[in-house]
């Protein structure tokens, strides 16, 4: 219907002018449009659950390649692609590419100068107004001009000479760019920082553990607890949720008695002040390198007959946690993989470590192994099915510690014995595993995407991209592309639904074929 409403004309003008400016208002992250994947998890909830419905269990076997983008790196893609305004941003350590989503043409590429930080992976970029943010291996935060990739500013998150590095995809909340670091090989305070998205000015620092030697520290002398994966955010509660890593020294628990808060924890932090609202320890007194950084997924669903604000985490230590995210209280704790290190669950819902399974001089056989029952690979939550889908592993490792190993950094020795991976669907209401889909020897490396039509996209250990039926784990589609080390995403572009998967160092876009009449030469 055509009208001459001045209001409508005005709104079209505004739309066009904002589109021309390609500027991303951070309020868009509260309700991302279908043609975007504007932040690491797609939205603030961490659910990685696409509402798009074109690709279904009935037609997924027909999806076909729309395009492929090779990064031509030896390092595989570990980043979740970011998509806004028709532009895809994909990263590897030191590198970011801006790609036109319709043509797969490279718009620009930026490469950070050679540096000493660990180049083990990079999880992705973030966008705000006309800036694109990346962290660097030497723990800097860069703001790039979204038009051409030129550096607008470059600030230090933490000193790489002390052993910090960063792989993290930043989280944007209003004008905050929130970034964490890694650092297991030195006794460093757990550090999460916020910078002004416009200027790069530091806003706050949250320490999960105090610096080494801090008198009377609550951590019992532990350092560590690094926050190296992107958190989630509840706008109504104004709380940022982030998982914290293992304590240091890593395997030597003798040097740091007690529970060592807030290492191996889920913490709720005010994103404006960096102040802790509450913490929940997934692994009190960890001695096995079981970071609890795994994505704390937020869901507003019924639990035991009552609508609740839940936080769900499948943790590296083999436990599945259901928390009330308003206060951090445990509602349910179960296991989802082989676990032999506990003496049960305490009144607060925390696993009770069995001291006999701490690293010892003669070696202890421990499940999970160091790589864990899960890890960095992003899970997904389908709120309709009530299933939390995670890349799990059953594994065993040998753990050693003796005084000779000291109290700095790793401070011990551990060896993987055996492990095998599986995609598992956990019913959040019971914490029980509904189905388990074997993905081969060793731990997996692919994250998960679920969709509203009941599809689960992920990858196996043999280099196959997979589409499974979310209700029972049956394989509906696969393509042998090379190993998937990131999580798939989905979006709609010009009326068609796309799935992006990485295989090795190449990014692949999948969509349903057009009917012959719609195809042009």
């Amino acid at each position: 219907m055509l009208t001459r409403s001045p209001k409508l004309v005005l709104s079209i003008c505004c739309f066009l002018s904002s589109a021309a400016a390609q500027s991303v208002d951070p309020s868009m992250l509260l309700n991302p449009p279908a043609d975007s994947w504007p932040t690491f998890h797609g939205d603030y909830s961490g659910q990685r659950h696409s509402k798009l419905t074109q690709i279904t269990p009935a037609n997924v076997h027909q999806i076909t390649l729309a395009w492929a983008f090779p990064t031509n790196q030896t390092q595989s893609i570990k980043a979740t692609p970011i998509l806004v305004n028709g532009v895809i941003y994909i990263t590897t350590p030191d590198n970011i590419w801006a790609i036109d989503a319709r043509t797969a043409r490279q718009l620009w590429k930026y490469t950070y100068p050679m540096n000493d930080g660990f180049h083990i992976g990079h999880r992705g970029a973030a966008v705000y107004k006309d800036s694109v943010f990346i962290t660097t291996p030497d723990a800097h935060l860069l703001a790039l001009d979204a038009r051409d990739g030129k550096v607008k500013w470059n600030v230090v998150i933490a000193d790489s000479k002390r052993g910090f590095w960063s792989t993290m995809a930043p989280l944007i909340i209003r004008n905050h760019v929130i970034v964490g670091v890694s650092g297991d090989f030195d006794n460093l305070p757990g550090t999460l920082r916020s910078f002004d998205a416009d200027t790069g000015k530091p806003q706050w620092t949250f320490n999960s553990t105090p610096p080494a030697g801090t008198p009377g520290s609550i951590s019992g002398g532990a350092t560590g607890g690094q926050m190296w994966l992107t958190g989630t955010f509840d706008p109504a509660l104004n709380l940022l949720y982030v998982g914290t890593g293992n304590p240091t020294p890593v395997l030597n628990g003798v040097a740091r008695p007690g529970d060592n808060p807030w290492t191996c924890s889920i913490v709720a932090v005010n994103p404006d002040t960096g102040k802790l609202a509450w913490g929940f320890q997934a692994s009190p007194h960890d001695t096995h390198d079981w970071d609890a950084v795994e994505i704390p997924i937020l869901a507003d669903v019924d639990f035991q007959g009552t609508p609740r604000k839940l936080l769900l985490q499948a943790s590296r230590n083999g436990h599945f946690f259901v928390l009330d995210r308003t206060n951090g209280k445990s509602l349910l704790t179960t296991t989802f993989a082989a676990v032999n290190w506990t003496k049960g669950i305490d009144a607060q819902g925390r696993p009770i470590p069995n001291p006999d399974k701490e690293p010892h001089r003669d070696g202890r056989l421990v499940a999970p192994n160091e790589t864990g029952a899960t890890n960095f690979r992003q899970p997904s939550f389908d709120p309709v099915a009530g299933l939390f889908v995670v890349s799990a592993a059953d594994g065993y490792g040998l753990y050693f510690f003796k005084d000779d190993h000291g109290a700095y950094g790793w401070a011990g020795a551990d060896y993987d014995v055996w492990s095998r991976g599986a995609i598992r669907a956990i019913d959040y209401r019971t914490g029980k595993v509904r189905w388990s889909h074997d993905i081969g020897e060793g731990a997996g490396s692919a994250g998960i995407l679920t969709t509203a039509t009941g599809l689960t996209f992920t990858g196996d250990n043999g280099g196959n991209a997979l589409a499974l039926r979310t209700s029972d784990g049956t394989t509906l589609w696969h393509a042998t592309l090379g190993r998937m080390n990131n999580a798939p995403i989905s979006y709609e572009m010009d009326g068609r639904q796309y799935i992006l998967t990485a295989g090795g160092s190449v990014l692949y876009a999948w969509t349903l074929p057009l009917p012959p009449a719609a195809q042009k030469p």
């Binding site: 030896t74 297991d184 790793w410 993987d416 095998r420 074997d438 020897e441 060793g442 043999g462």
Partner: protein, 285 residues
Amino acid sequence: MKHRTLVLGLATLILAVSPVAAQQGGRGGPPTQSPASRVPPKTETPQSYPAEQIQAGESRFIAQCGFCHGRDAQGGETGPDLTRSLLVAGDVRGDKLKPLILAGRPAAGMPAFSLPAADIDAIVAFIHDAKAKAESEKGNRRSVDVSDLQTGNAEAGKQYFNGAGGCSKCHAVSGSFASVGARYQGLALMQRMLYPRNRGPRATPDLLPATIVTIANGQTISGRLTYRDEFTITIVDANEWSHSFPVATVKKIEGDDPLREHTEQLGKYTDKEMHDVFAYLQSLK
């Protein structure tokens, strides 16, 4: 050593979807070198490098290799201690290291690195320098000594081996197994006892599952299983030709997995039983 043969139907081997129980079987992940309990091998051909090249190599090594192998090359999060590596000990100016860095060891989880030649030369220089430094150090922070592992009871281990552990169902204490404690020591023996990793250059063909694939026309191909996932099976035949099949097209797959009991046993061992069996195996010389 003999293997108990398990004849498995297609349904058992296709592990795609199964109930919650942890799926066992399969043949290990990346091989873990276990140099931590042996005397570090000396560099066979002493070599020296300019200080500037070592320094440049240190930067490159930390950035590209440090997370897995440690900033000092003495082992990191997942990779072995290079200062105790036999390959490094035998390397002369990169003749062994350079091809390895360029090709990687994908089966062991090490990626290939396409770095400029000068960077790789510098990394080689740094590794040799790190090894020289490690040789002059006392003690090793990631070491597991043979003496650390002596908490088991060989007699109790023998009883477990022949009884509750069920080890003797597959392993007769005769032939080469009767001297297993002489062939492997310390951590290497313990790791092999728990799960004899079987990939890469040191793979034991006997431990690759014997497999018979029946294809659509009824023809059967026998060999040793070298690859298996949900969609693909690869076997190598007696003449060392590899055959790969889409699983969906084959009629039947029969095979044994000689290591299945090892993976199942991991969930059963107490630490005491593990150390007892280890003590018993140590006594087999």
